[in-house]
Symmetry: C2
Subunit: 367 residues, 2 copies
Amino acid sequence: MNDLPVTLKDVAAMAGVHPATVSRALNPETRLLVSDETADRILAAADSLGYRPNTVARSLRTRRSNTVGVLIPDLNNPLFPPIVRGIEDRLAANGYVALIGNTDADDDRERLVFEGMRDRHVDGFVFATARLRSPLLAEAAAAGLCVVLVNRHAEGYGFPAVSVDNEQGIAMAVAHLAALGHGKIAHVAGPQDVSTGLSRYRGFVAAMAAHDLAVEPEMVAYASAYSIEEGERCCGELLETGCTAIAAGNDMLAVGCYVALETAGLSCPGDISVVGFNDMPFMDRLTPPLTSVSFAHYEVGKEAGRLILEQIARGGARGSGGGGAAGGAGGEISADPQVHYLAPELKVRGSTGPPANVAVGARRRVG
Amino acid sequence: MNDLPVTLKDVAAMAGVHPATVSRALNPETRLLVSDETADRILAAADSLGYRPNTVARSLRTRRSNTVGVLIPDLNNPLFPPIVRGIEDRLAANGYVALIGNTDADDDRERLVFEGMRDRHVDGFVFATARLRSPLLAEAAAAGLCVVLVNRHAEGYGFPAVSVDNEQGIAMAVAHLAALGHGKIAHVAGPQDVSTGLSRYRGFVAAMAAHDLAVEPEMVAYASAYSIEEGERCCGELLETGCTAIAAGNDMLAVGCYVALETAGLSCPGDISVVGFNDMPFMDRLTPPLTSVSFAHYEVGKEAGRLILEQIARGGARGSGGGGAAGGAGGEISADPQVHYLAPELKVRGSTGPPANVAVGARRRVG
DNA sequence: TTGTAAGCGTTATCAC
DNA sequence: GTGATAACGCTTACAA
């Protein structure tokens, strides 16, 4: 009937000991400092009273909030829910919770969200919003905050990052299109100030070269954001070039291509093949099902969660890590030794097929 | 160079006043208690030092965390991100943040998440996971916690709820199918222990009656969860009944119907029309685009955010609300006067068409 | 209008 | 092994 919260003091009174002793008995770290006998008595009292520690008071005293700030562009982008769940689930295993912040890819909002989280004394940050050069990350680095980057990485701030191998992924897309007989392959490039946009663009150029295919400048259109609208606009431009296939910088851009193709009265893959990147949920159910470069989103999130917990446990970013040749012998893809790459996998679906002329030839042979 | 956090004391020292005065000057509520002159001095000192209040200390003192717990089944279900964003955005406007918890529709997990949030002293809860009868909600009600239900409601706990008008929504679906000429319309019912499942089922029965259409018992299949798998299973059963259209309890179940139809080698809408409910993001891009009952997800979230803030501001659920005939003159759909209904809208897309025999007739007339 | 002092519930640093 | 005490940074009667 009495709602008043039970405190350490209450438990102490019931067990006939000092509050400090209760604290010790209940805290796994210090449990060994108290005799089993009294510990038992305390434990019994605690759960007979239904004691629950006050995490706020604990945070004030320990300067640990058991909380991690997670900054993402937009929860509505289907790429992020599985990543966020991966992070949350990993954090939960250690008694941590995530504070989610949406930045809408806006720097001012990002700063606002970031500062709100600092005010709440989060123990660390996971950024899914990193641009290659970011004043915010520079600040975070200078302040010695615990930070992990996910999906994207940034240049030279020394933060660990988890992402798919973008170069390899886009290479798989190009190889697939080339194998189908495409020669004029265009690229809708993502924003070039974020690592995914730049890496996939570079990977595209490299992969085309590897297949002895030319990349005319007009065969690449640059999206200013990973949005359906930008994909549509870029695809519209590319249709002038006579390309027969498009490797899009991500699935959103690919969906934008679908829209542009519909508008132009063209069929996919009949007239133009389209490949996405990320293989977001439901991409396998589009019209047509989207061929896309896939990776384990949830696992990326879990790994990011693991890394941030590790960093926090080390007592901050200054701990170790960060530098030099510590990352194992050679072969690292990036200059930053702390980027954890996951392997991509190409999911071939209905949005890719042979180019129109080849298809006609094929039909002749068959019919 | 010095990272040590700036406290009230530091600001007080610089401004040459007592910490308490700084507190008053910086708090909007008490700002008027201090002279403009000293307030200015304090403000100047505060932001010259870059002072940021310690929210943890504040929470401990005020017993307010400015935090709301949001329980959802699964962030990966595309229905929830827009709702969550609506909640978050509304909360942010008042300096509150949301703690997201995924329950995976599991009671034990739900309790765990709930208790974790209580331990963190959230000021209120938004439940998107309510079952009609829920021990957890009963407890919350007994404890006088601030609670708002979203998307679903529950029976008799007196909590405000925000959701779409399910009866009206499913009625629109049935009316649409009937207008197309369907007579044998089946229903994949959602779980009957949650309000959405029950309301839509009842709405389906009522709507069929309104159109003088019979509902044979075997024309309703009951899903045990809102999952693609269950939709597939149920649709498989319904295919035995000779129905020509299916009104699904939600979009997940509708997608499950797509799977079952593919497996059976049937076409949609050629052989069977399918209508979903919720109109989740990307449902307009499925194969075929899904006809679905739509509503403003983001707005539902915002309204839920508004309601929980209001309840918290009132100083708890016990404040007022809850009871009696306060809800305006008559016409309430539910016994609980606090359910806020949003109007549904039917989005007609490619998954619905005339029944096969009618279609054949139509073709004859045309060709 | 401002200063004083107590206290939110915990944990850390001493003694004993 | 346990108790006493102080402190984390802030708010809020109450006093001046």
